[in-house]
Symmetry: C2
Subunit: 335 residues, 2 copies
DNA sequence: CCAACTCTTGACAGCGCTTTCAACATCTGA
DNA sequence: TCAGATGTTGAAAGCGCTGTCAAGAGTTGG
């Protein structure tokens, strides 16, 4: 294991002081062109790369943006990761992802790890961290939340109205004539689930339809939960004509349940998802869904963090959901 | 922004020297229980957390495992990330993911970023980095490759035979009686594609079937590539009865092409994928596919890295692909 | 021609921690 | 009782870098 070169090695070879090398590296001051030349030569010949850890210590900035996420393999957050990555590109900052698995304790541990590494800022994606906890952290560190709001920190969050999104999906179904619409909800502990359920009810009310709690079942935002919930529902009643799933993964699970029973989509049953995962465009049939622009959210979060690090507080960023019309819904037919 | 406490603050409050605090933190030496107590109290009351950056500088170990990946949102590598995360849990090391997007130059840049941060080891997931480049790095740093082999570094890689995997999928199709089997390959620049194509041909040969290059089209390992390739193929000929896709995403794209033309799966066309993405169990119909245990691969890579860091070279780890039988294939019917 | 500047440069302290070394305090056993 | 062993602690140097400060060289203008 060969030793990495240090700034001192460079200084020695170039016959200048370490300070000068540092100045050239950081552009902190004017340096005569002959010294600059010899330093650059020395750097090239040694293949020298500054030790970011040491820079971090000296400058008091780690150049790390901590990202507390829920699952590193989540298809939805995956798109957000891409946005964050790109938004941070060429800023000198780098993201460090730690997963919290939707458990407040693990999320707190993630934050611990990140602060132990002296992250310069933290982006929190969803999760169940307590508001007070986040507020306290926000006092000592720039924080941006995505997909969840924190009272008193509205200006540091990227937010999409889940309720509006749900209404978009539901109105579409209602306008197609559906009246008995089931909802496969997310976990009831999850704010997004709650908001989407609220949107479901609001749309129903808008069309003067009574809310029927029997038509709502709880899943877990995963395919399997959607499958199970749909099977259960199907075994109990058969009078509904459309399903509004709490997210695309749930919709895909439901799709399988329908397939198993030979119920055709969209001829016999209309199906609407939420998120617009990349895969939603490739289900059979392609899934009509409410789009959340995951990548844009990530990019916006990155931009906001960068702003915050420069001391600028920007106005709250609100992105909007939109309906992506594909082929899993059809006008209600009277059979 | 309140200042973070330092080890010195703790020392002062506890009335001991910084060395003693450090010893307690690291368990480096025996410390009398009264001092230990007062130090622990001081740590608790200050909410002190050691600065990992400073520890890194002093110890010469960053406790970062760099992970060069191709896309942070990749569904296949996502599972590997999970394995890495878990394999590294409680080791004190943390992964740092940087994406290379299958471009050697970006991958080299990723490595640069990682070495500038003095990663203690690097895990390379797939990619197009030149063998020599990796070999050179391996001299100064523990390196583990996943899903790609490097000549001379076999003992530091987690490998799955793509050829064997392809043969598994193909034999299944052949045993079902299919004789005209199309292959939607991955990018020809990609080693996995090449190996899988080799397996495709080998299986054909095994069954005494002539290789027909017209039945092979190149995709890009993405849904869209699969869709396009399948559409093109379908527009050119209709005499094949099965498709062996280079990966699940390609298969899903092909599935959509078939759906568009009203070709039923598996009645009219059998379809086999590769990878066994989580989503493969929820396509319509659920996809028969060759499984690569992504999470196990990640866990194995993490374990290998940890071993390497302790100076142990283990024997090459070879995991094996397996066939996951679902519902997208059926026995050839004479129509 | 010299005071007053302006540039460029190096010495040095310090970021927060680890680790070696030596000092001091105790404890053994002969 | 004392030499030697053992245990616990602090001082200080150093990890690789930045940033302040001051010195020395070179300019300018009255």
């Amino acid at each position: 294991m060969s030793q990495a070169r240090t700034l001192n090695d460079v200084a020695k070879i170039a016959n200048v002081s370490p300070s000068t090398v540092s100045r050239i590296l950081n552009g902190t001051a004017v340096v005569s062109s002959d010294k600059r030349k010899s330093v650059e030569d020395a750097i090239a010949s040694l293949g020298y790369r500054p030790n970011v850890m040491a820079q971090a210590l000296a400058k008091g900035r780690s150049m790390i943006i901590g990202v507390v996420t829920q699952a590193i393999s989540s298809p939805f957050y995956g798109e957000t990761f891409v946005g964050i990555e790109q938004g941070l590109a060429n800023s000198g900052y780098h993201p460090m992802f730690i997963s919290g698995h939707w458990r407040a304790d693990e999320e707190r541990e993630a934050v611990d790890i990140l602060t132990a590494r002296r992250s310069d800022a933290i982006i929190i994606l969803g999760g169940n961290l307590e508001d007070e906890y986040i507020l306290k952290m926000a006092k000592s560190l720039p924080i941006v939340t995505v997909g969840r709001s924190v009272e008193g920190l509205e200006r540091q969050s990227i937010y999409i109205s889940q309720e509006d999104g749900a209404m978009l999906g539901m109105r579409h179904l209602l306008e197609l004539g559906h009246r008995k619409i089931a909802h496969l909800a997310g976990p009831s502990t999850h704010r997004d689930s709650i908001e989407r359920l609220t949107g479901y009810k609001a749309a129903l009310a808008e069309f003067g339809i009574a809310y029927d709690p029997d038509l709502v079942l709880e899943g877990n935002f995963q395919e399997r939960g959607g499958l199970l919930a749909a099977e259960l529902l199907l075994s109990r009643r058969a009078d509904f004509t459309a399903i509004f799933a709490a997210n695309d993964q749930t919709a895909m699970g439901a799709r399988l349940a329908l397939f198993r029973r030979g119920i055709r989509v969209p001829e016999d049953m209309s199906l609407v998802g939420f998120d617009d995962l990349f895969a939603a465009g490739y289900t059979t049939p392609p899934l009509t869904t409410v789009r959340q622009p995951g990548e844009d959210m990530g990019a916006a979060a990155a931009a906001m963090v960068l702003n915050l690090l420069e001391g600028h507080l920007q106005k709250p960023t609100t992105l909007t959901p939109s309906l992506i019309l594909r082929e899993s819904t059809s006008r209600l037919r009277f059979s």
